[in-house]
């Protein structure tokens, strides 16, 4: 824990944190975009009247599943939070009000890490039901008929889980900066003692 605090307080630590935030922003934004544009339309033959087949068109959209809607919304929120934090770090300068800035960044990071993990998990379990079906509840799987929809959804999920891991690391770094407030990213609010 002390080594982490030391790494977070050095000058290089600030650049690493910025890099991590940029990566997390890109990961969550790409997850939101890929899932938001996820849509597949297919025509199936549902029966036969004499010799002519009857065709019906089915669409698979992300709005059909509430878990995926939550996924898109949460990813947009987390990427916006990361963008805000990046802007704060680059343009915020040295303004600080008795340690309030460090505390608010830490708390916001913690809230966002729980949000993104909830969204990624809900979408993952719904995708698992869609991929494997559930024979106890007699729910058929849909991935054999809408393969592209499932593939895009899987890609968005992977990006979101990468975002979860990155947000967890960022949150750990921000919390450790509460232990030893450093002088590079925020002004020295005269940390009189290191607890």
């Amino acid at each position: 824990m002390a080594k982490l605090a030391l790494a977070a307080t050095s000058g290089k630590g600030c650049k690493i944190l910025l890099g991590l935030r940029v990566l997390a922003f890109l990961a969550t934004l790409s997850a939101a975009i890929v899932m938001g544009l996820n849509k597949e339309t297919k025509t199936f033959v549902v029966g036969n009247v004499g010799n002519t087949p009857i065709k019906a068109t089915f669409t698979a959209k992300f709005q059909h599943t509430p878990a995926f809607v939550f996924f898109v919304v949460a990813n947009v929120m987390v990427s916006f939070h990361n963008l805000l934090m990046i802007a704060l770090q680059i343009f915020g300068g040295k303004k600080d009000l008795t340690g309030f800035r460090l505390l608010s960044v830490a708390i916001l990071d913690m809230l966002n890490v729980t949000l993104i993990s909830a969204a990624a998990n809900a979408a993952a379990f719904m995708a698992e039901v869609g991929k494997n079906g559930n024979k106890h509840a007699r729910w058929d799987k849909i991935c054999d008929r809408f393969a592209t929809y499932c593939d895009h959804g899987a890609g968005a999920l992977i990006a979101a889980f990468a975002g979860v891991v990155l947000m967890l690391i960022i949150s750990a770094v921000t919390i450790s900066r509460l232990v030893q407030p450093n002088k590079c990213c925020s002004t020295a609010a005269t940390p009189s003692v290191v607890p």
């Binding site: 106890h136 509840a137 407030p181």
Partner: protein
């Protein structure tokens, strides 16, 4: 005196969170109902859905962790580690609750676009118990968020109030 009330407040919060997580765990594990649908008789258990299994495991981990931390002595240096672990447990709780809610919502309302029928009509008591377990899980989550903020405040001294 203030320190004592703060410490008792923390303990009360943790006992409440432990109780809520344990209640969620027990209610979901004991949910089981047998129903017959036309000529087929089937049994609805929590192990049918992967999300419910994950919910049970996550709440079990959180209960064991809360129970252990209850006995941590005040002067131990591990309290800084407890802050990080509190964050991890909050993440576990929220992700398991969110996954179970997503699956339970499909079980209750079905998904007309995918052709999935709701199952709550056939096994109403099972559905009620699952709802109860999810509510207890939500209470545990809220208590854990408060616990996280409390640990952050009491252990890390975020306002940098202490003077040497």
């Amino acid at each position: 005196m203030v320190k004592l009330t703060k410490r008792i407040g923390g303990l009360v919060l943790r006992i409440a969170a432990f109780g809520a997580a344990l209640a969620a765990l027990i209610v979901m594990v004991t949910s089981r109902e047998r129903a017959s649908f036309f000529a087929i008789s089937f049994e609805a258990k929590y192990t049918d859905m992967a999300a419910f299994k994950y919910f049970v495991i996550a709440n079990a981990v959180v209960s064991v962790y809360s129970f252990i931390v209850l006995f941590l002595p005040k002067e131990s240096l591990l309290w800084k580690f407890v802050v990080v672990l509190d964050l991890v447990m909050t993440m576990l709780l929220t992700s398991s609750l969110s996954a179970a809610l997503a699956v339970a919502q499909v079980g209750k309302k079905g998904n007309a676009n995918a052709g999935w029928l709701p199952i709550c009509g056939q096994v109403p008591k099972f559905c009620d118990q699952i709802t109860g377990a999810l509510i207890a899980g939500f209470v545990a989550l809220v208590l854990y968020v408060f616990l996280l903020l409390y640990s952050l405040h009491s252990v890390l001294d975020p306002f940098l109030l202490q003077k040497s």
